[in-house]
């Protein structure tokens, strides 16, 4: 019996140390489920931010410092195209004034349209991003669906030809197109998904133009080779790929969900899910040291976009049925983080220029237009998911 008490004491100390170690590394997750009205209000505020922060040339305020009340300038045309997509998405969802702002923002596109050797593209400089063209396609196609207007159909098809030329034989996508030399050898972690999504959309709107073939080639590359060839580590959480998968599922003849495709989607969902869990643990205090400061709203928004799109797809697919509740919970959590972090009227009242801050998301005092873009899209996608879930429940 001798020595038992000290031994048990040592064991208890070891338990406390191990539990302390895990408490330092695994934190509680602060998640919630915003009600539908909160999602709608938040989306409206984001659209209002764009309405308040666009100039007569169709340019948005790109980056703004809240603490110093300074417009920090800079611009990015891929993000401009992304904003137009989100605004047309919002218009389709019934958010007031979104279409008007999107039309106004098209002025920059018209001003910066350029002819390259493989077709039209947009931007400044001599090399133009394929991702920019991809997101413009998404925006214009969404406008076409929402308004019924076909005045940009020729441009849409021409953009499709440009993108097709940027798809290589192995399915990889050139990140840039030089005006005279054509597609280059550079790759981008996000342009591949953006171009795939654009071609997938175009195949629905213009089914006789052959956009399905390059889209399928990219899809194969994305599933089988992209991560290995381009970014072995860390793996890319590809929200644009999620948009593409959801869109391709709506093709008249959707591509088969092979085991590899399911595995890719599952891995992607793991990545989105992990990041939502991690982000929801950032609540200040000790987590400031163990988790860092909060992520950009653009980043949190992409998590909601990835989850939202895969959910829309998965609701049609028994593969993930056992995880649906968890996935909805994660998407709710991403939306909760966005809703609670957005600047509302009370927060903005004390700002030097409330028009620059109301409806925006700030990190370390800065906001960038894509913060509003990705957050807006994530909130709208969650609304869509909830509507679909309600429909499915009603029909069941």
């Amino acid at each position: 019996m001798a020595g038992i008490a000290p031994r048990l004491t040592r064991a208890l100390v070891a338990w406390v140390l191990v539990i302390g170690l895990t408490a330092l590394t695994v934190h509680p997750e602060r998640c919630g489920r915003p009600i539908d009205d909160e999602l709608a209000t938040s989306a409206q505020l984001a659209v209002d931010w764009f309405a308040n922060n666009i100039d007569p040339n169709g340019d948005f305020v790109y980056r703004y410092d809240r603490d110093r009340a300074v417009d920090e300038g800079g611009y990015n045309d891929t993000r401009h195209a992304g904003v137009l997509w989100s605004l047309w998405q919002a218009e389709r969802a019934g958010v007031e004034g979104a279409g008007e702002v999107a039309e106004a923002g098209f002025a920059r596109v018209e001003r910066l349209l350029k002819d390259t050797v493989v077709g039209p593209a947009m931007g400044t400089g001599s090399t133009l991003g394929t991702g920019t063209v991809g997101l413009l396609v998404a925006a214009l196609d969404e406008r076409r669906i929402t308004t019924g207007l076909t005045d940009q159909d020729d441009l849409l098809v021409a953009f499709g030809r440009t993108l097709t030329a940027a798809v290589n034989a192995d399915g990889s996508v050139s990140a840039g197109i030089h005006i005279t030399n054509g597609p280059n050898d550079r790759r981008s972690p996000f342009f591949t998904g953006e171009v795939l999504w654009a071609l997938a959309r175009l195949h629905i709107s213009f089914p006789d133009q052959g956009f399905d073939e390059p889209a399928l080639r990219i899809r194969q590359y994305l599933i089988h080779h992209r991560d290995e060839v381009e970014t072995p580590w860390p793996p890319v959480s590809d929200h644009w790929g999620a948009y593409a998968f959801e869109t391709m599922d709506r093709w008249p003849t959707p591509p088969q969900m092979t085991d590899a495709a399911r595995e890719w989607r599952r891995r992607q969902l793991g990545l989105f899910s992990l990041q939502v869990r991690y982000e929801s643990q950032r609540v200040g205090g000790i987590t400031h040291f163990t988790r860092g400061s909060i992520a950009l709203a653009a980043g949190v928004g992409t998590l909601g976009e990835g989850l939202g799109n895969h959910l829309l797809h998965a609701l049609d697919d028994g593969d993930l049925s056992e995880h649906l509740d968890v996935l909805v919970e994660r998407a709710d959590c991403a939306a909760h983080l966005l809703v609670t972090r957005q600047i509302d009227a009370i927060d903005a009242r004390s700002d030097a220029d409330p028009d620059r801050t109301l409806g925006a998301w700030f990190r370390l005092g800065d906001t960038q237009m894509d913060d509003q873009q990705h957050a807006l899209s994530a909130l709208l996608l969650l609304q869509q998911v909830r509507a679909l879930l309600d429909t499915l429940e009603d029909s069941a």
Binding site: I4, A11, I19, V26, E29, R277
Partner: protein
């Protein structure tokens, strides 16, 4: 978390070689039997408390697996690098309670894996997954396999499996 990973996790978290090392020389079978039963009861309790416990602290099942992996890793590193000291023991069959069941076999990694495993696979699968570890412990003790080198091998395997448990939590949907 697959049932296979849970089974392997339980084996390395308990580390049969370390348990065999701590078994009393006199009547080790009886002590191991008592220890096995006690550990099983503790695992069932931890598993049954899993949901209310995780809800109370606001941790998801996936994060609980990360926590379990970290706790398992701590024990595995100890087994890998630190020679086990002779354990003070209660007399007779009660050696199955102290030191075998606690603190040797029911370590923090086992408790956390039980919580995470039950949250993910249910208590029934958890119990079924714990049995092979207890059987292996009995076999190791009967065969006198409580040797330093084997304890370290168990620790090395534990480190590997603990890492897999962490990754399972990281990539979980």
């Amino acid at each position: 978390m697959t049932a296979t990973l849970l089974v392997l996790g339980m084996i390395v978290a308990i580390n049969p070689f370390r348990a065999a090392d701590a078994a009393p020389e006199a009547d080790p079978r009886r002590a191991i039997g008592v220890a096995g039963l006690a550990v099983l009861v503790l695992v069932v309790i931890a598993g049954a408390l899993s949901e209310p416990l995780l809800s109370a602290v606001g941790v998801t099942g996936a994060s609980a697996r990360i926590a379990a992996g970290i706790a398992m890793l701590a024990s595995a590193v100890r087994d890998l690098f630190v020679s086990p000291d002779p354990e003070p023991s209660l007399p007779g069959w009660r050696a199955g309670i102290v030191p075998l069941a606690f603190p040797v076999m029911f370590a923090p990694g086992v408790a956390m894996l039980a919580i995470a495993g039950a949250s993910n696979r249910g208590v029934a699968v958890l119990v079924a997954s714990t049995l092979p570890a207890l059987v292996l412990t009995a076999l190791a003790a009967s065969a006198g396999l409580g040797r330093r080198l084997l304890v370290a091998v168990g620790g090395a395997a534990g480190a590997l499996i603990a890492t897999l448990v962490v990754l399972d939590g990281v990539y979980a949907i």
